[in-house]
């Protein structure tokens, strides 16, 4: 269940239909403090990044006045895009919501202060209603198209009449004509000024003025229809894309809270902080559904812990050594896991029981075998390297005369080529000493790759030993 296509739908619809919507206060004069066009889009966009959100928090996040935001949200509620819920709640209720919020980890809802101060205040929450938005947008498009098409062929439209008297300008619909009929039955008269009414074209008249020119009006409407289809195309395609997807459903506020809370509980108390942190990171990526994906991660962790406890008695050596970068403060790890134990202590542990002893003996045999194998392997490696270098030397000797032009060009690359040269030098120097000892020289040659060669052996031994 992905939110992404639906969020895109909301964003497209917001830009298509609510871009130039001004939300005015009831008692605010028309030429108020500048227009707030575009605010509707911003609010909708913000809501796509959230689930249920308390309106004060949203206002804070958007740096809007809460009254202004509420006005906008009421508008969207009437437009059926947003569901809102109001409830009286104490500080405790707010805490429940905050907990749910932390569980879903919206990421932007970090600011929560003054919870303790509240005493039974009315709080409003809002949330996008994706299923309904889909329907609303479709219905709106349908109505738009139908209106223009009806007007286009004059079908199913109720004629309107307008008083030509500019001081009067009354409008009448065809339903009123019975009362407006003049005495001779020839025309309709304005109730107010007794002037003869003229027909008004609903859509085109405003731009064309005189409605008599039917042909021009027709073309105008056709143009309008074409423009509409053209401009709303992305929205239509998005609608089609979303058509077969299940709409994200957050349920009522209470249900959502309960669900989020349950999800938080499932992760376990000790891990709660971690989960919220990790999911906060995810909050921006558009899938704020922590109870779907992340709980699984947590469960796996706890499962591992349980396994640890069981296996600790029987097979102490089977614990994996965690790499140092994985070990964080506060992690509950045994020493074995940190890799601090050397083979001797392990052997001591093993000798505590007879069975383990035998197993250990076997292991030791195997270990010596593997050591020998390793030595042989390294020796072979060194040999091969020698051979390679020898052949390289031979090649370079032969190539030297022709390679003059080539080498400078390689130098031009800069640092890289220089370092390669350095490498070569080291290898050249070491050549004589290679034959003496088994593994060491290879290591030296490989120094730039593995800085901690001394640790290397221990670790490798460990691993081998475990495998036995």
């Amino acid at each position: 269940m992905s939110l992404e296509p639906f969020n895109r739908l909301v964003k497209l619809a917001a830009r298509a239909f609510y871009d130039d919507v001004t939300i005015k206060g009831d008692n605010q004069p028309k030429a108020g403090r500048g227009d707030n066009r575009g605010m509707a889009v911003i609010v909708l966009d913000a809501l796509t990044r959230r689930q249920w959100v308390r309106e004060e928090d949203l206002a804070k996040a958007l740096k809007l006045h809460s009254k202004q935001l509420r006005r906008t949200l009421r508008f969207f509620e009437e437009e059926k895009l947003v569901t809102r819920e109001h409830r009286k709640e104490s500080a405790k209720g707010a805490k429940i919501f905050n907990a749910a919020m932390a569980a879903t980890a919206d990421g932007q809802q970090g600011t929560k202060e003054g919870d303790e101060k509240m005493k039974m205040h009315m709080h409003s929450y809002c949330c996008l209603d994706y299923a309904q938005i889909y329907d609303v947008v479709r219905y709106r498009m349908h109505r738009m198209k139908k209106k223009i098409k009806d007007e286009l062929d004059n079908r199913n439209t109720i004629q309107e009449y307008i008083c030509p008297n500019s001081s009067c300008g009354r409008r009448y619909s065809a339903f009123d004509v019975l009362q407006l009929m003049s005495m001779d039955g020839e025309s309709f008269l304005c109730e107010n000024c007794k002037a003869e009414l003229t027909e008004s074209e609903k859509l085109a008249a405003e731009e064309l003025g005189d409605g008599d020119d039917r042909k021009r009006r027709h073309e105008k409407l056709k143009d309008m229809l074409r423009k509409m289809e053209e401009q709303l195309k992305p929205l239509v395609t998005q609608l089609n894309r979303v058509k077969d997807l299940p709409a994200p459903e957050f349920g009522t506020l209470l249900a959502w809270e309960a669900r989020a809370h349950a999800a938080a509980q499932a992760t376990g108390d000790s891990n709660a902080n971690d989960s919220s942190k990790s999911s906060q990171g995810q909050g921006y990526t558009g899938t704020p559904m922590p109870f779907l994906g992340e709980t699984r991660v947590e469960v796996a962790l706890s499962g591992l812990e349980a396994k640890e406890e069981i296996e600790h008695d029987t097979k102490p050596t089977s614990l994996k050594v965690l790499p140092p970068w994985m070990i964080k403060q506060g992690m509950n790890l045994t020493k074995e896991q940190r890799g601090e134990v050397n083979p001797q202590t392990k052997m001591e542990q093993g000798s505590s029981s007879v069975d383990d002893k035998k197993l250990n003996l076997d292991n030791e045999d195997e270990k010596s075998l593997q050591d020998e194998y390793l030595k042989a392997y390294y020796a072979a490696l060194v040999k091969r390297q020698e051979e390679q270098e020898a052949s390289q030397r031979a090649q370079q000797k032969t190539e030297l005369p022709e390679g003059v032009s080539e080498t400078p060009s390689e130098r031009q690359v800069g640092m890289k080529s220089k370092r390669e040269d350095g490498n070569d030098e080291i290898e050249w120097e070491e050549d004589p000493s290679i034959g003496n000892s088994g593994a060491e020289p290879y290591r030296l040659a490989d120094l730039n790759v593995e800085a901690d060669a001394s640790d290397h052996e221990d670790e490798e031994d460990d691993i081998d030993w475990e495998e036995g």
Binding site: D153, N154, R155, N156, T157, I158, Q159, A174, F175, V177, L178, G185, E186, S187, F188, E199, R214
Partner: protein, 177 residues
């Protein structure tokens, strides 16, 4: 559309009718009162087909009138949006024409008359096609579609169209006369 439904009404009967034919008098008065009226809810009451039940009368203090609750069955007519009706043209002017389908008045504006019909003024104003084959004037019968209704408490007014397939004049009195 016509419906046959059961309605209720409280009838007030003058004391002078109290006598052997009280019931007949009551029904006659019901018909006189109700038939032809219009209610926004049920439409026009066309005819009463029967009286189901007459309840106990209640004498009103002071006047001596008696109130009977009467249950009766009636045929009602209520126009709906989208319904096709046959109607008689009653008046034609340049704004369109008026027609009546029984008790219902319908207005068809000139935008809802096919584009090829032109208004012709004169002592018999009419809408005529360019070749004169079809003419809408007073007393023409037309088939029209209702595209809007205005239902008041005591009145129903409709807007109709003849700009659709199979709509328009169904007989022309001018041609036969």
């Amino acid at each position: 559309m016509f419906f046959h439904i059961t309605l209720e009404r409280n009838m007030q009967l003058h004391p002078r009718h109290f006598g052997p034919h009280l019931r007949d008098k009551l029904v006659a008065k019901l018909m006189k009162d109700v038939e032809g009226t219009c209610s926004g809810r049920h439409g026009f009451v066309v005819a009463i087909t029967g009286v189901e039940d007459i309840g106990k009368g209640l004498i009103r203090e002071g006047t001596g009138f008696v109130t009977f609750p009467v249950k009766y069955q009636a045929v009602v007519f209520r126009p709906f949006k989208g319904e096709i009706l046959e109607a008689v043209v009653t008046m034609v002017n340049k704004m369109g024409f008026f027609a009546e389908a029984g008790p219902v008045q319908i207005f068809v504006s000139n935008h809802l008359i096919p584009d090829d019909m032109e208004f012709q003024s004169g002592d018999m104003p009419n809408y005529t096609t360019s070749d004169g084959s079809v003419k809408i004037q007073k007393d023409s019968e037309v088939r029209l579609k209702i595209i809007g209704t205005r239902v008041d408490a005591t009145e129903i007014f409709c807007i109709g169209t003849i700009k659709d397939d199979f709509l328009g004049v169904i007989n022309d009195p001018g041609a036969t006369a």
